[in-house]
Amino acid sequence: MSFLAPLFFIGLAAIAVPILVHLIQRERKEVIHFPSLMFLRKIPYQSVERRRIHNWLLLALRAAAMLLLIAAFSRPFLTHATEKGLVATSGAREVVILLDHSASMGYADHWTRAKDEARKVVQGLGAEDKGTLVLFGTGPEERVRSTSDKSQIEVALNEATVTSDATRYAPALRYAQTKLSQSQLPRKEVVLISDFQKSGWERQEDIRLPEGATLAPISVADLETADLAISSATLARASFTGEERVTLTVGLTNRSSSAMANVPVKLEIDGREVGAKTVNVEANASASVTFPPFTAADNQRAVVRAGSDKWAANNSFFIAVSPSRPISMLTVQRDGGTTSPCGPECPSFYLNTALSLSKSPPFKIDVLGASRVAASNLTGRSVVVLYDVGALSTEFDAALQRFVQEGGGLFIVLAERTPWSAGESPILPGKLGTFVDRPIGHDGTLGFLDYSHPIFEQFKDPRQGSFANARFFRYRALTPAPTDRILARYDDGGAAMVERRVGTGRVIAFTSTLDEGGGWNDFPKRAMFPPLAVLVGQYLAQYAEPTAWYTVGRNLDVSSPLAALVRAGTASDPQGAARKPSGVISSPAGQQVTIGEGGVPAVALDEQGFYSVRMQGTGDRRPFQVAVNLEPSESDLSSLQPAEFAKSVTGRAAVTTTGQSLEHPDLTPEDIEKKQSIWWFLLMGGVLALLTESALSNRLSQRFGTGFLQMNRQ
């Protein structure tokens, strides 16, 4: 701290004034008239100089007021030298080198320059200094732990490569914060080498470097960048002569100050070029390119490449294309009535009609009588409906259990008949009981719905409709097992809809009919029935919109390729071979990892390109493809000012690697003092102390003064 007018400190002598006043106990000017000094005269008078201080608070307030006022007039200010004074200027250093290896560092020569800068920092380390090399993208990776061995750091630097990660500064800085706080060395430094992408920093990030630690930012960003990136892709699907035709449209963004003309854009399917176009993109603008339609096949690899610039990674876009299949459903109903196509006399007519309303995805429904169904009918099915059927053949029952175990969906409509004579089965969610008839005039309704379940979740909002007007006159009693989940209950507490998970498959039982034949209820005629039927179908088929691509950093677990198998109706092996939810995943770089049973539960998608997933038991089918692209924000190369960035992180001015401040190097002391205006706060503090002193002394005077004045009244 320095002072513009240090001579004012002579005034510190004035602090002695209140102390003397307190010591001397100045006599009051007024004379107190007392009836007789007969007794007072006998008491020996003590010298006033030896009096003790009576009111320490008052003395402290007066002295503090003096001190603050004098300090205010001396015009103090904090200098950078003083700021540096907080930082040790001698002794060994603990240097954490944070080197950005995110995808954007692949732009032009950024990566080479960044490594060169890192090498300079390493070479600048003294014999007693220690260095830590941390590479960071989305998260930090410590390549070399705190060491004085420079060669070790240089070897690690040589081996470092650019990744496909997005840039995130906060995790790396937090890592450096931890490292520095653990260090015992007197000087602590963070050297951040990056292109300082704006998209990688949120100002509200809470980073607190240890006291005295400095942050030296080294930017390798170019003032002007020219980059073309493929930022998006959309697939439009259309059926054409039984096949699905896909039209691909990609969006391109020109992040430069000059327009790009005749940029070639090519589409490759499974390594073969199927389309090529040219496009003009204005400066700092976007454009789109639509390729001619192509026929979709299972697990195709589509790659779009656009032009060539200083950063090749974001000139390519990877898409996994598969045809969207209808959900294949087999309805097994009691014998009698029509089967496929299911007419009005068909028992499952209402259910099938409701499902046929769905277009995305469509349902492909086959109806068979219970006596005609065989295990082979399960091949290629995603969902099976047992609609009020009696006893099943042993072979079909076993095949059905296996079908569910391997991920298939089963919907059981329980009415007059019972598929399992004992009322129990591993795939029946509960134990079946007798019929329950509601008394005339006391029709049943659905009294409870589990809105947390995916089927009912979207009906949570009352505006989405109500199930309250459906009337139930009869139902089958079903006692769920403790592990079963009751999705709906009647108003008398009886289970209406129960779910059981079997293996990787799902089973839902409904305890009343879904037709008007038996007069059990009027639910199928209600408006809420069709959407509920479709949602149940989608849920049992484990339907999800096929993901054409992921972004770097996401995780892929076994459920994604498994759901694809269920959708394709190939979850069940027609030969009856056991299929387990496990597989092997190959990364774009060729690394193989086992996922699912016996392997890791999920794999981080941290490389740009295609990951291939081969599930156990899928034979020679094409492996499931996962396309991974760069995070769109990573293509935004606009950068932060390194000094501003460092200031926002540390709250202090940034310094160079040699310790020089990067902020306001030419300010005079007057300018700095004027900018800081510390005197204003000191002055206010002094005035406040004086006001408090006045209030306190007045109060003390009032306490003793009243009696005193009256005593002098004649």
Binding site: E27, H33, L40, R41, Q46
Partner: protein
């Protein structure tokens, strides 16, 4: 409402009395209020209470012969009543300059005036003869005792102004010569004198068979010494000034004034003189009670 030990004591609160300028009214207010709170009549002297009969002797007033008893016994008897004698009541009133001191609404001399007026009123109501002597270092006013001097006494009290220093021995010696008849003497002062000197001054009064009651009037500030700031203190009588630091003087002072009071109490007790310490912040009932006790003892005669 403030509660008092003695019913009617609200009439004797000095703060309230200080608002009454008329001393007679004040005395009547206090005394009547005080008396109303008592359950038995406090009057003696001109009593109407029958005591006994005695045989008629020549010279007795024939109006006092009990004729009814004569009718039954055929002998003359006269009725005798209790305390049918009247006494002198003399107030010795100190008006030295120190009596002008007061740390609250009532100064010492005002308070002493109330006491004197009330006592005189009580005595006057009993048809005692009342008189007053005001003094400082000399006699300032002398009102001889008389049944008609009550108003003169009040007038004297009203005019009393503390102006000069006080010396008790000389004026009291001088007054004692005028006491020819046995009297009830009330000395009201702040007693800034040596207790031995005070007692010496009062000896003649006891010697002549007077009953003496001493009222020591002190302000609460003189007892508690509540000062905090270092100041110069000036003696009201001599004008002398000394620097005083209360924080170091207070304890010593309180100890000395306590000793002074204790010494006065002891000395007066030994001399069979009733001593009453009056704090000017407290009601007057204590003074009145003491007076009545003394008067009762004195008048138990037939």
């Amino acid at each position: 409402m403030e509660s008092h030990v003695v019913p009617g004591a609200r009439f004797v609160d000095p703060k309230i009395l200080s608002r009454i300028r008329n001393l007679e009214l004040l005395a009547r207010t206090v005394v009547e209020g005080f008396i109303n709170g008592l359950h038995r009549a406090p009057y003696f002297g001109a009593s109407i209470d029958f005591a006994e009969h005695r045989g008629y002797v020549p010279g007795d007033d024939i109006r006092r012969v009990d004729w009814r008893l004569f009718a039954r016994t055929d002998k003359f008897y006269v009725k005798q009543y209790e305390a049918d004698t009247n006494a002198n009541f003399m107030v010795l009133f100190d008006i030295s300059k120190s009596m002008s001191f007061g740390s609250h609404a009532v100064t010492k001399i005002e308070y002493a005036s109330y006491v004197a007026a009330c006592l005189a009123y009580l005595a006057h109501r009993q048809r005692d003869r009342v008189g007053i002597v005001t003094f400082d270092q000399d006699i300032v006013n002398y009102v001889p005792p008389s049944a008609k001097h009550f108003n003169v006494l009040l007038h004297t009290l009203d005019r009393a102004k503390p102006e000069r220093p006080g010396r008790m021995l000389a004026p009291l010696d001088k007054i004692a010569e005028h006491f020819k008849r046995k009297s009830l003497v009330a000395l009201i002062s702040d007693f800034y004198e040596n207790p031995d000197d005070v007692l010496e001054a009062l000896k003649p009064y006891r010697f002549h068979g007077n009953d003496v009651v001493v009222f020591h009037v002190l302000d609460p500030a003189e007892i508690d010494f509540p000062y905090t700031d270092a100041s110069r203190f000036e003696d009201l009588e001599s004008g002398e000034e000394i620097p005083v630091i209360p924080s170091s003087f207070a304890d010593e002072y309180r100890k000395m004034i306590k000793e002074h009071i204790e010494k006065l109490t002891t000395k007066f007790s030994e001399a069979r003189i009733d001593y009453v310490l009056l704090n000017t912040s407290k009601p007057l009932d204590e003074a009145l009670f003491t007076y009545l006790g003394t008067r009762e003892r004195m008048m138990k005669v037939r």
